[in-house]
């Protein structure tokens, strides 16, 4: 009976009531400890879920980042060439494939730029272009594989009539060949599912377009 009395005196603030046989406090702490453990466990799991994608995303020097940056540059020139052809080419089929390439590749630029942003990386790398590729030696005069020289771009802009079609088809054919070379390198070296998916779509599309470009070249050669 002594214990209860003691409790009574403090029951207003500390309602711990050990007027039971001492098992009460013990089980109470047990419950508390379990509850804390559950909460801590949940928090740890949540933190792990938050951090994992952050720690596993591609870094600044990764193949994925290099591909996203360089393919953006590569695509950007294809978009320019295609929009010139869409505006000025003679054959309707050439204009049609040109506008398809332009919007398709512009869309892919959007996807690749979004990757970089999501990975917390800058669109500009600190290494020279193509250094992510094992055979990075393929940069010529600062141009990636298949890219048109400034002189070729000027000539395309200045061309008129069927000459636009012919120059565009030739430039875009080479451009796609170089592009596929870069895509293959990325596919070889990445296992990032999203990068693989988009790169594979790019490759399939460009391979089909190569056939169509070649067919149109024959048509344009006739005049």
């Amino acid at each position: 009976m002594t214990a209860p009395t003691t409790t009574d005196s403090e029951y207003d603030d500390t309602p711990a009531a050990p007027d039971e046989d001492g098992r009460a406090p013990a089980s109470r702490y047990g419950v508390l400890a379990l509850a804390v453990m559950v909460v801590v466990g949940l928090l740890l799991g949540y933190a792990g879920g938050l951090l994992t994608p952050r720690l596993t995303r591609p870094g600044d020097a990764s193949v994925e980042a290099g591909f996203a940056r360089d393919m953006t540059t590569h695509h950007a020139q294809a978009v320019e060439m295609s929009l010139i052809a869409y505006r000025s080419a003679t054959l309707p089929e050439v204009r049609q494939i040109a506008v398809d390439i332009a919007t398709g590749q512009q869309g892919e630029i959007g996807a690749m730029q979004t990757w970089l942003r999501e990975w917390g990386l800058s669109p500009t790398g600190s290494k020279p272009p193509m250094s992510w590729m094992s055979d990075g030696a393929s940069v010529k005069n600062g141009l990636m594989p298949g890219m048109a020289t400034p002189q070729q771009m000027t000539a395309l802009r200045d061309a008129t009539g069927i000459e636009v079609d012919r120059q565009f088809l030739k430039l875009m054919y080479d451009h796609h060949l170089g592009g596929i070379h870069m895509i293959d390198a990325a596919l070889d070296e990445t296992d990032n599912a999203e990068v693989v998916r988009v790169a594979q779509t790019m490759k399939n599309t460009q391979q089909t377009e190569l056939n169509n470009l070649r067919q149109l070249q024959a048509q344009a050669a006739k005049g």
Partner: protein
């Protein structure tokens, strides 16, 4: 814990149990009344004899309280985790898995992949293995698929190119009742990567096509129509999500057309 008239002695244990297990609620009034008084009165009161009775009751309350709390927390946690896991599992299911789960869908990508392959664009009329066609070789021009609702049949050779660009092509038998047609049109009109046209000789009233997929249904109210569109529109694109649906052929007629020479000279 029947709180009867007896003031001090009864009240005390009640409050005690409250401290332990908050949920009770019952003590509220008692606690209020007691808050000032009991501090002194219980102590003064020689409740020695009565106590053995009350603790027993209280301890029963104590036993259930933690259990209830614990179960509640446990169930809540399991529920949250379970729902999260289920939702993310469902959400992360790839579109092709979801499409394959549609009852009655035909997946030509699986059953007849070869029929979808082609070398390059081919002009003029072409023949197709499936009716309506779901892929394969096609003309250079695509049918405009910016949510266009065509009121007459269109050329397969253009529509297949639209499928390649990720469009869902809704076709219906010309004898489909007007209100059904209108219901279908409501799912198409104004939505890019969608097109719709009547189709002669369908074996079912309605047939939906995406590149490599087909679903035939009897009724515009069939919920699988929305499933098909949800899972395959854009996703089925061979050339990624931004392949064009505009600048295509907007004329009807089942004979494929050459691309118009249009105002090309004027632009130069």
């Amino acid at each position: 814990m029947s709180i009867s008239t007896p003031g001090g002695p009864e009240r005390r244990p009640t409050v005690v149990s409250t401290g332990k297990k908050p949920a009770a609620g019952r003590p509220a009034s008692g606690a209020k009344a007691g808050s000032g008084k009991p501090a002194s009165s219980p102590r003064a009161g020689g409740k020695g004899p009565r106590k053995p009775v009350t603790p027993v009751k209280v301890s029963q309350g104590r036993a259930w309280g933690p259990i209830a709390l614990f179960v509640a927390v446990g169930v809540l946690a399991a529920g949250i985790i379970g729902y999260g896991a289920w939702a993310s599992f469902q959400g992360s299911k790839p579109w092709d898995k979801r499409a394959n789960a549609i009852d009655g869908i035909v997946n030509i990508r699986k059953t007849d992949k070869a029929s979808l392959e082609y070398e390059s664009h081919k002009s003029g009329p072409l023949t197709y293995k499936y009716s309506p066609p779901v892929g394969g070789v096609h003309n250079a021009a695509w049918q405009n698929c910016m949510g266009d609702v065509y009121d007459a049949p269109i050329a397969n050779e253009h529509a297949v190119h639209s499928l390649e660009h990720g469009a869902v092509w809704v076709t219906y038998r010309p004898d489909l009742p007007k209100d059904q047609v209108e219901k279908l049109a409501g799912k198409v009109r104004g939505v890019e990567k969608m097109l719709m046209s009547p189709y002669e000789g369908l074996d079912k009233p309605i047939s939906l096509q995406a590149w490599g997929y087909q679903l035939k249904v009897d009724n515009a109210d069939d919920s699988r129509i929305d499933e098909f569109i949800k899972d395959l529109r854009v996703n089925a694109s061979v050339e990624g999500p931004t392949a064009l649906c505009n600048t295509g052929i907007t004329a009807t007629g089942t004979t494929p057309r050459e691309l118009p020479q249009q105002q090309q000279p004027a632009q130069q």
